[in-house]
Assembly symmetry: C2
Homo-oligomer: 205 residues x 2
């Protein structure tokens, strides 16, 4: 009877039990359902079963909530990229393609969050945590590019090619979501394109 506090669900803190986390999860869900500009904090509150004033005990304002949700999403993106990179040995050309594919797959799986992460950078200018994960992603791409070229990750060529690779994959991700211009590119053509990008990068041989 004395340990009722941790009986219910592990991280139950107070009345509601990790409202912060549940709000972020609700935001994530709503952003995908209603679109990046069609959701509201109020609706997230309804999903979490609290009043519309509750979030302001955990966040300063709307931007803060969005920023926190974006941070979680960036961490998911980084994790996916890391798994893809680790699945192939450093020299393998397939490694570059896999890294790019993981990025595109994330954009397709979470188009709403992806749009907020990279298309609505309104209140996420000076967030050290966000910049940190961003830098980690960047470093990962530079390492993969460096490994591929046989140079250290901070070699100018590796940095430049990493940026070019990112541009390409980032643009493809956006265009695929819009399908305003780009008729959907079939998976096998997408894979071929990503492989081709890996082959364009010069190798040590």
């Amino acid at each position: 009877m004395s340990d009722t506090k941790s009986l219910v669900q592990a991280k139950k803190n107070y009345h509601h039990g990790d409202l912060r986390g549940q709000l972020l999860e609700a935001v994530r869900e709503l952003v995908e359902r209603e679109g990046p500009d069609g959701f509201s904090i109020a609706e997230a509150c309804r999903l979490a079963g609290v009043s519309t004033a509750a979030p302001y005990k955990h966040f300063t304002d709307r931007h803060d909530i969005l920023r926190s949700a974006v941070l979680l999403a960036m961490e998911r993106l980084y994790a996916a990229m890391k798994i893809a990179a680790d699945a192939h040995p450093p020299g393998d050309p397939a490694r570059v393609a896999a890294l790019g594919q993981s990025y595109v797959d994330f954009a397709k799986a979470e188009p709403g969050m992806f749009r907020i992460m990279f298309g609505m950078t309104e209140g996420q200018e000076d967030c050290p945590e966000l910049s940190g994960v961003g830098e980690a992603c960047k470093l990962l791409v530079e390492q993969v590019a460096g490994d591929h070229m046989g140079v250290p990750h901070d070699h100018p060529s590796a940095v430049a090619w990493a940026y070019a690779l990112w541009c390409f994959v980032h643009g493809h991700s956006f265009l695929q979501m819009d399908d305003k211009l780009a008729q959907k590119v079939p998976p096998e053509q997408e894979a071929r394109m990503l492989r081709m990008v890996g082959e364009v990068i010069p190798t040590p041989s």
Copy 2:
């Protein structure tokens, strides 16, 4: 005295005189000043000097206003791309670079509108006019790519390379605006990168 109607300003229609156009101009201005999600129709009304109910005589709703503003922006983008392409002869490698540069320049000149055009495609799914300009842009890139490769614009290779070029330039544009990841790329490096992309595309020789 009988021609007072066209004395004032050409397109003066009724009381206010082309409120539709002035609202779209106000939106364009506010989107750049306040950001893609920090502006309001109400504020645009204030700029145009009308009540907040006035827009609904010219547009069905907020999405309709945005869509119309985006259409104008797409036409500006197309015009800029066309001018860039026409500035160089069909075979010139500089032509590809110039086309890409015009795209990036537009994104830098109108980052707010660019974000709405490609990052918040909420209410602009089924707009034939928008699709039309989009197709025109796509065709232009395919023609430039085809000319460069010595094949017709609808050749599969030209289409594929045009799409790849677009991805690259589109991604670069977004990353430059965010400057979350990409430290600002200096102009001469940007130019070198665009030139390089042109050189990657195979030529008939």
